[in-house]
């Protein structure tokens, strides 16, 4: 009698491992940078309560935001809901994404809340989930992070329409947050895993792409051969101690931190203890990935268009144009035609410049790698990865005025619960920096972002674009000029915005 009759009958085809080491050489983190090697860290990450402990404080804060926004004072600067959301939280999220990556996703109360309900547990590993568990339709899923970008564009329009982030009436912030919670819940109950976070969450593409600058590589394989040989893939399917990756990421092949939600499930479920939590050099996930994504490239382009538009939006020139357009279209601010129109024009302009570079830089003689059809994509995608630092810096710089002008209001807004906060208090009116000081910091942030983008683009050009080109000097100069132009545009716009205000 056979001891292993099933195994005897199984004749799997051989797995492809040729060239695997080289394929991941640039993106694999240094083996020594695995912080989960430390027993205490490992113990913490193994604990199913860890994720709950991360989410819980934010959960409390955002339910407070919802309730206090609806029931608290109508003075935006004195209402805790609006104060913490717009003066502090948004800034913190950007800092976290630039330093860590998807740190916010690991503690996000919106997905966290919906996931508790989907799993019918705060931290336990349950076997049956609540809801329909439908797979996200292929026809939509193929747009990847572009769905998230579209959601972000829509959300910013709504936010602009109601002046929510101004901040305007606190109740509107509450309703917006509640709307996100309800949307998340609906998606979690209809679709499987974290379909909402992976595809639909308005912040997902922004955090994913800007987070690529982060120094946390995420959960990755310790030994790829073990992962490739693994017959069970508990990290994907779910094991005894952990769920299958909610983000559709396999530690065995992840080459960036783009879709690692730092949820620790793969670390918990791996039966071979072959998953680590790795640090990496800053910008690695911008520069090194071999598998560059078209949806991310277009996403970065659109996000760049949006943030530039938000700057343009604050200039006198735009105010005149918008006023004129509103008069002839009988619409009100924000006029959707110029709102989305300018975003798409700016994004299109950026893509057009990339097209020009592709024409300028590509070889005239045939190259098996580059056909006329794929030429644009071959240049456009790496170039857009290269400007990620500027896009990230610009979004961050956009949040700075609210932080420097009003973050101290957080204290009187907490005091307001006890009837001691007031608009007359010193803290309410304290500014950390003057307006010129803020502009200086903003321009400095853009300058740092531009320098980082120049460095990233130099590296990316060297590895990805030069093999496609016969004009290396021309290509390097033109790519660098594009980066500098982007940085200059953002920097100048901040000065113009200041002049306008």
């Amino acid at each position: 009698m056979l001891a292993q009759p099933v195994a005897t009958a199984v004749h799997l085809r051989p797995k492809v491992t040729d060239g695997m080491d080289e394929r991941f050489a640039e993106t694999d983190p240094n083996k020594g940078w695995d912080i989960a090697r430390h027993p205490k860290v490992a113990q913490t990450l193994k604990s199913r309560r860890f994720q709950f402990a991360l989410i819980l404080p934010n959960q409390i804060i955002f339910w407070l935001v919802i309730f206090l926004g609806l029931l608290g004072t109508v003075v935006p600067g004195l209402n805790f809901g609006t104060a913490i959301t717009w003066y502090l939280w948004f800034c913190l999220v950007f800092v976290m994404m630039v330093v860590v990556g998807r740190a916010w996703c690991s503690m996000c109360p919106f997905g966290g809340f919906a996931e508790w309900i989907q799993r019918k547990a705060f931290w336990r590993r349950t076997q049956k989930s609540l809801g329909l568990g439908i797979k996200f339709p292929k026809s939509v899923a193929r747009y990847g992070f572009l769905i998230s970008v579209a959601a972000f564009l829509l959300l910013t329009y709504v936010e602009e329409f109601f002046n929510i982030a101004g901040p305007g009436a606190p109740a509107e912030t509450s309703i917006m947050v509640l709307g996100i919670v309800v949307s998340a819940l609906v998606f979690f109950l209809v679709f499987e895993r974290r379909t909402f976070c992976r595809y639909v969450c308005p912040l997902s593409a922004l955090i994913g792409s800007v987070g690529a600058m982060g120094s946390v590589a995420g959960f990755r394989t310790r030994d790829r051969d073990v992962c490739v040989a693994c017959a069970t893939k508990d990290c994907m399917r779910g094991g005894d101690s952990g769920y299958g990756c909610p983000w559709y990421t396999w530690p065995g092949s992840a080459d960036s931190n783009l879709a690692c939600g730092l949820c620790t499930e793969c670390f918990k479920s791996c039966p071979s203890n072959n998953v680590g939590l790795f640090l990496q050099k800053p910008m690695t996930s911008v520069i090194a990935p071999r598998r560059r994504r078209l949806d991310i490239a277009w996403g970065v382009t659109l996000l760049w268009g949006l943030v530039l538009f938000q700057q343009v939006n604050a200039t006198n020139l735009y105010a005149s144009f918008d006023g004129w357009l509103n008069r002839i279209t009988s619409l009100q601010y924000p006029n959707p035609i110029d709102y989305f129109g300018i975003i798409f024009v700016l994004a299109g302009l950026t893509a057009g410049i990339a097209w020009l570079v592709s024409r300028l830089g590509s070889r005239k003689v045939g190259n098996a790698e580059v056909t006329s059809r794929s030429r644009f994509r071959s240049f456009f995608v790496p170039m857009m990865y290269g400007i990620i630092p500027i896009v990230g810096a610009d979004y961050f710089a956009r949040q700075l005025p609210k932080f420097f002008k009003h973050v101290s209001r957080l204290i009187p807004s907490i005091g307001a619960w006890f009837g001691v906060g007031s608009t007359h208090s010193a803290l309410y009116n304290t500014r950390l920096l003057s307006d010129p000081g803020i502009v200086f910091v903003q321009v400095a942030v853009i300058a740092i972002g531009t320098l980082a983008a120049l460095w990233a683009s130099w590296k990316i050009t060297g590895r990805d674009l030069l093999p496609l080109s016969g004009h290396s000097a021309t290509l390097r100069i033109s790519v660098s000029l594009v980066v500098v132009a982007c940085g200059a545009a953002a920097g100048i716009l901040y000065v113009l915005m200041h002049a306008a205000s």
Binding site: L2, A3, L12, P39, K46, K233, M236, T249, W250
Partner: protein, 761 residues
């Protein structure tokens, strides 16, 4: 060795034909966004339509090579592949079913096999020879189905038999009596894709009917010098006897009836399983030297006596206690159970006896239809009920089957139902017996009620005022069987074992794709993956001893099941006996005992328990002639226990000083996933910070309630030393009677007793 070549030829030939006719080619689409390049689909694609794009590290598909089996769709953990379009496979062969014009006295086999080699090869060519064949998982015996089908394609039926013999000793019987739709064929790739499966049962039968099933051949000498008693000669007894006798053991089989075969003899009529086929295994076993003792009824009290006479006992006595419906009139003359009816009916038909000796002719004239034939009311509509009703028809009686379940939800075989209806059996679903009415102490009327059942799993409800009266001459209760409770009590807790998956299903099964399609139409919309994995749990249990030197197999272990499951369990329990090689105390002849297999399982949080587990393992290996495996508790399943002779379980202690102190919750959760530990010797230990309190008692209780025998316990605190570990291991070695290891040159046994180093600080 299986080959992929014939598949490629067969499918490409078919595709060529298809191309001319239509453009209906499957289209494979890999969603690059989610494909992680894990290659689970690539290694399983039967036709090689998938390959790796190593630059992007994603799977890429060549739709031209795809036949639409959708194995890739089922196996992808991230749902990154879709296949649209048809399945490219030829029509399934339909085997003949003999239409019996006049059932009276007819005892010929109803279901026919494949008639010729050409037809068999045509059907065999429908098989994709899947690299990860789900049919193999669906088959309870795990026959290498692609293996024997490949041999059949090549016309090498001897090789096909050789492949089958590795896993089954009853290919001729199983191919006739198995409900393949819920087993191999239900789990066929075509079936899981929504199509018609390969006729695996018919192909197996073709092999067994065309070339005689080979006689037993010695496989090893593992059992030499060992005597084993097998109680029961049914499929489980046959499996056990084959396994043991082929390994050279002296096997004595005790059968209470005067004919061997158990259920194969008294439970399955000749028209389904001809007597010559049913007798074949025992003719072979007796020729091979198995001592078959007929007419020996073994009671639970006899087990201890048998243990004095034999080195091991395998209880394969089946589950033959018929269920009876407790209704008024059930004690009337003319009310009997299926076993006795089938036994008498079989004998009457085989010997051409007067049918009235089995079914008395009515004495009160003709019935409502004007016929003077007696009417048999059969309670139930399952396998046994169908056999009873069809036997009754062959004995010249009218037969009515009643089942209280709705036709849509009743677990019946449609083919069997069709055959019974063809033979004139009146099958009435949503009907139940209210009570029986007699005349002169003999049953005469059956009062039936109609029922209503709206959903699967719902208990049918009797519709008030729907009573109908039927005139009957004999009532046969064929609702099923159960274990004799006297045996279950004697053989320890947890018997009969449940065949259900507790916890996360085995991920290798998930990866194969068998779990992805919960209820394929070809499996009558039943959860074929869950059923298969559930059976696996039952099969693993047959490795575990119920008591010291006693194993249980077949229906005796899991309750009424199938011939193939019983046979495999018998083989597994035989294999377990050969691995453990137990000896009764009276045997003084020195024997070469195998090294004991020790499993050290731990639940560790901070690494302390894991460290001590590893210390214990090292020490056991040093002291005793053992093979020690160390594994996290969460990774230990019944199958692992089944491969062990001694289990050491360690857990950290949960709680705070005095509040909620006990074994860690994951440890308790693990116990819940394990139904039986059998009579395995178990040592338990825990690691604690302040005070373990009753942790060890709780663990002991959990072990004992599952039949285990705790031989040693220890709690290791902050100040415990390696000396404590040594003492614990010494206790284990003594109590579990592990064979001491040969002292290694230069080693000092006394040094073992000295504290060498701190284990836990």
């Amino acid at each position: 060795m299986t080959t992929f070549a014939p598949v490629a030829e067969a499918t490409s030939a078919h595709r060529g034909h298809n191309k001319e006719a239509t453009l209906n080619q499957p289209v494979v689409d890999v969603l690059v966004d989610r494909c992680a390049g894990c290659q689970d689909c690539i290694v399983r694609c039967p036709t090689g339509a998938l390959s790796m794009d190593t630059r992007r590290w994603v799977a890429v598909a060549d739709s031209e090579l795809c036949v639409g089996c959708r194995q890739c769709v089922r196996t992808c953990a991230f749902s990154a592949i879709t296949v649209d379009g048809p399945m490219i496979v030829g029509p399934r062969i339909e085997t003949a079913v003999v239409h019996v014009e006049e059932p009276l006295g007819d005892n010929s086999e109803i279901r026919q096999g494949i008639s010729d080699m050409k037809a068999a090869v045509t059907e065999a060519n429908r098989c994709l020879v899947c690299p990860d064949p789900t049919c193999v998982r669906g088959c309870p015996a795990h026959n290498d189905i692609p293996g024997f089908i490949s041999a059949l394609r090549e016309g090498n039926l001897d090789e096909a038999h050789r492949v089958l013999r590795r896993t089954t000793v009853l290919p001729d019987i199983c191919s006739r009596v198995c409900d393949q739709a819920l087993q191999c064929e239900g789990a066929c790739s075509w079936s899981l894709a929504g199509g018609r499966p390969v006729a695996i049962g018919a192909l197996e039968r073709f092999i067994a009917d065309t070339v005689p099933v080979p006689a037993m051949e010695p496989t090893s000498n593992d059992g030499e010098g060992m005597s084993v008693a097998v109680v029961g000669s049914g499929p489980a007894g046959i499996g056990a006897a084959y396994e043991l006798a082929a390994a050279g053991a002296n096997v004595t089989v005790m059968e209470k009836n005067d004919h061997p075969g158990g259920l194969l003899q008294w439970g399955i009529p000749d028209f389904t399983l001809p007597e010559r086929v049913a007798n074949r295994p025992w003719e072979d076993l007796v020729r091979s030297g198995v001592d078959l003792q007929l007419g020996v009824d073994v009671t639970p009290e006899d087990v201890d006596r048998l243990l004095g006479e034999f080195d091991a006992v395998i209880m394969a006595h089946g589950a033959s206690q018929a269920l009876r419906l407790p209704v008024a009139g059930a004690d009337l003359d003319g009310v009997e159970d299926a076993t006795s009816f089938l036994t008498r009916g079989r004998e009457a038909l085989a010997n051409g006896l007067d049918p009235t000796t089995v079914i008395p002719r009515r004495t009160s004239g003709s019935n409502a239809s004007g016929s003077d034939a007696p009417t048999v009311l059969v309670l139930g509509a399952g396998n046994t009920a169908m056999d009873v009703a069809r036997t009754a028809r062959r004995l010249g009686a009218g037969a009515i089957c009643v089942d209280w379940m709705d036709r849509r939800f009743a677990p019946v075989r449609p083919d069997e139902l069709e055959e019974a209806a063809d033979e004139g059996v009146d099958v009435r679903f949503s009907t139940t017996l209210d009570h029986l009415e007699g005349a002169d102490g003999k049953v005469h009327f059956a009062h039936l009620n109609h029922t209503r059942q709206d959903g699967l799993g719902e208990t049918p409800q009797v519709i008030k005022g729907s009573t109908e009266t039927v005139e009957v001459d004999l009532v046969v209760m064929a609702m099923g069987y159960r274990l004799d409770p006297r045996f279950s009590d004697k053989l320890g807790p947890g018997i009969p074992v449940r065949r259900q998956v507790i916890g996360v299903p085995d991920r290798t099964w998930q990866a194969s794709g068998i779990m992805s399609v919960p209820a394929p139409p070809a499996a009558r919309n039943r959860p074929v993956g869950q059923l298969s994995l559930g059976r696996e749990e039952g099969l693993n249990e047959s490795f575990l001893p119920a008591r010291d030197r006693v194993w249980v197999a077949g229906d005796a272990l899991i309750g009424p099941s199938t011939v193939v499951e019983a046979m495999v369990q018998g083989r597994r329990s035989g294999r377990a006996v050969l691995a453990a090689r137990p000896r009764r105390e009276s045997v003084t002849v020195p024997v070469d005992l195998p090294a004991k297999r020790v499993l050290v399982a731990y639940e560790s949080r901070g690494g302390k328990t894991a460290r001590i587990a590893s210390e214990i393992a090292e020490e056991i290996e040093r002291r005793a002639n053992s093979v020690v495996t160390v594994r996290p508790l969460a990774q230990v399943r019944t199958a692992d226990l089944a491969q062990s002779d001694l289990l050491v379980i360690g857990s950290w202690v949960e709680g705070f000083v005095v509040a909620g102190v006990g074994p860690a919750k994951p440890t308790l959760a693990w116990f819940k996933t394990i139904e039986r530990i059998g009579s395995l010797p178990v040592a338990t230990f825990c690691t604690y910070g302040v005070n373990p309190r009753k942790t060890l008692d709780v663990m002991k209780g959990e072990v004992i309630s599952r039949g285990g025998n705790v031989v040693a316990s220890a709690a290791f605190g902050r100040r415990s030393t390696s000396s404590d570990v040594f003492h614990f291991v010494r206790q284990i070695v003594d109590k579990a009677r592990l064979q001491l290891a040969e002292p290694k040159p230069g080693s000092d046994a006394a040094a073992n007793d000295q504290p060498v180093r701190e284990v836990v600080r």
